[in-house]
Every structure is written in structure tokens, then in C-alpha cells.
């Protein structure tokens, strides 16, 4: 299965943009967390934007990824956003209660 690459992580102003892969599960989650955290430490990043444009599948591992990043940035006043989330992804965000900490932006 395809894994994330360096190009999927971009820092724009104070936002870390993460382009998520087609399928988000435990297998690929470790690499996404590692790559994101490296940038969160290094750069002057305040907010994180998860881009679900290419994502067709996500299980609870995705919830773990978002919750973990939220914990790291929320104590400094950072926010977490989700963009391009399809109906199924939005359903999973709702079901896990994550829609309370993640702002889902309609595009």
C-alpha cells in the first residue's frame, strides 16, 4: 500500500498541511505521526490541517493520529482542521466525538 512521502507534509505560514493517503489504518499511521511530529517540533507551527481529499478509507487509527496531534498543539492554542472529508470520513469523526475538537471545513 502507498505510504506518505515528504511532499505530503507542507508548512504554510503557521499551518502544517498533511495530505493523507488513500487508506488510513494502523499500518501507515506510525509514519504519519512521526513525520508530522518532526515538523511540529522543528517549525513554528501552530495549527494542523488534515486534508482528506484522497482518502477513501479510515479506521480508528486515524482517530488516534488526529487526537495525538491535537494534544501536542492544543496546549499552545493551536487548532486542528479537517478539509475535503467525504461523508464516510465525517461520519467517523462524528461517531468518535472528534468533531468537537476538529473543525471540519466544507469546501
Amino acid at each position: 500500500m502507498e505510504q506518505v512521502t515528504r511532499e505530503d507534509f507542507q508548512v504554510i505560514d503557521n499551518c502544517l498541511m498533511i495530505r493523507l493517503p488513500e487508506e488510513i489504518d494502523h499500518h501507515g499511521a506510525g509514519l504519519i505521526c512521526e513525520s508530522a511530529d518532526r515538523l511540529l517540533l522543528r517549525e513554528d507551527v501552530c495549527n494542523v490541517v488534515f486534508d482528506f481529499e484522497n482518502t477513501r478509507f479510515m479506521d480508528s487509527s486515524g482517530i488516534g493520529i488526529i487526537m495525538g496531534r491535537y494534544r501536542k498543539i492544543s496546549c499552545f492554542g493551536g487548532k486542528v482542521y479537517a478539509i475535503h472529508a467525504d461523508r464516510q470520513i465525517q461520519r467517523i469523526l462524528r461517531l468518535s466525538g472528534l468533531n468537537k475538537i476538529v473543525e471540519v471545513l466544507e469546501s
Partner: protein, 165 residues
């Protein structure tokens, strides 16, 4: 109509995607809705991931190109996950079984947000998702012997796309 299949595969995370796609293909002739397929894939993914990282405590790891597999390193076979599906008319039964460490307290394990592996950034939502996306969930576990997760879902009752909103 009755149809049955069983898969036995190594408890490595590479097989999580394989397992859920296999079950989705198994029910594809019923013309399931996208939502039904997505529900089933999520539930299978949760159950198989649990077997791999909790049942076998992630012992067998990833298969990375160029790296030795668990079998090559240790000379013993890695643990296996059994995935058994039965389709009786429009009722899908899925059983995911491992011979791993088992669960001490099934009731607590099924509580939303409870996880024994916060360091792996697990959300603790696995069983909650299985319950939400399937019609029925049963967990049978004996410490030291392994765990069996049984799920049921009636197919063909999903809304048409866009029917809900």
C-alpha cells in the same frame, strides 16, 4: 444461498488492508452500498488490527523491504490471524480469531476510549466502531489462549446514497 470463506494470514500490519479488501470482495455480488462496504471494511480493519497489536502485541512487526522477517530472525513462525466469513442469504457473519495473549477484562476493553496502548496512539475506539458499524458484536477471550471476535451484519438494508441527508 450459503457461501463461506476462510483466510489464515501472518499477524503483520501489512495484512490489515488485505483482510478488509478480501471481505469487501466476498460480499460484492450482493451489490452493497458504498456505506455498507465502508462499514464492513472498518469493522474488519478494527478486529484484525486488534489481533495484531494487542493479541500478538505487535511482535511480528512490519515487513519492510530488505529487512529480515520474524521467521528469518527467530526461526519460528509468526502468529496467525484467522478470518472466517459466512454469508447466509443476506446475513454476513465475520469471525476474527487469534491465538495471542487474550483479554483480561473484555467489558473494560469494550469501553470507548479505553486502551492499553496509549503510547501507540491508539484511540480506544476499536470495539466502539465494530459495534457501531455492524449489527451485532460478540467477544470471547481467554487470557493466554486468544480472542474470538464475532460480528454480524444484515446486508441490503442500507440507504441509497444521499437518502439520509
Amino acid at each position: 444461498m450459503k457461501n463461506e470463506m476462510e483466510l489464515i494470514f501472518d499477524a503483520v500490519s501489512d495484512n490489515e488492508g488485505f483482510a478488509r479488501v478480501a471481505v469487501a470482495a466476498f460480499v460484492s455480488h450482493l451489490n452493497p452500498t458504498l456505506e455498507e462496504i465502508s462499514d464492513i471494511k472498518t469493522a474488519v480493519s478494527e478486529a484484525v488490527t486488534n489481533a495484531i497489536i494487542h493479541g500478538y502485541e505487535n511482535l511480528y512487526g512490519y515487513i519492510r523491504p530488505g529487512e529480515m522477517t520474524y521467521k528469518e530472525r527467530s526461526g519460528t513462525n509468526s502468529g496467525k490471524v484467522w478470518l472466517h466469513c459466512t454469508l447466509e442469504e443476506d446475513m454476513l457473519h465475520i469471525e476474527v480469531r487469534d491465538k495471542g495473549k487474550g483479554i483480561d477484562n473484555v467489558e473494560r476493553a469494550m469501553e470507548p476510549l479505553f486502551t492499553t496502548k496509549p503510547e501507540l496512539e491508539r484511540s480506544g475506539m476499536g470495539f466502539a466502531f465494530m459495534e457501531a458499524f455492524m449489527d451485532d458484536l460478540e467477544v470471547e477471550s481467554r487470557p493466554g489462549e486468544g480472542t474470538i471476535v464475532r460480528m454480524k451484519k444484515k446486508m441490503g438494508v442500507g440507504d441509497w446514497i444521499g437518502g439520509e441527508e
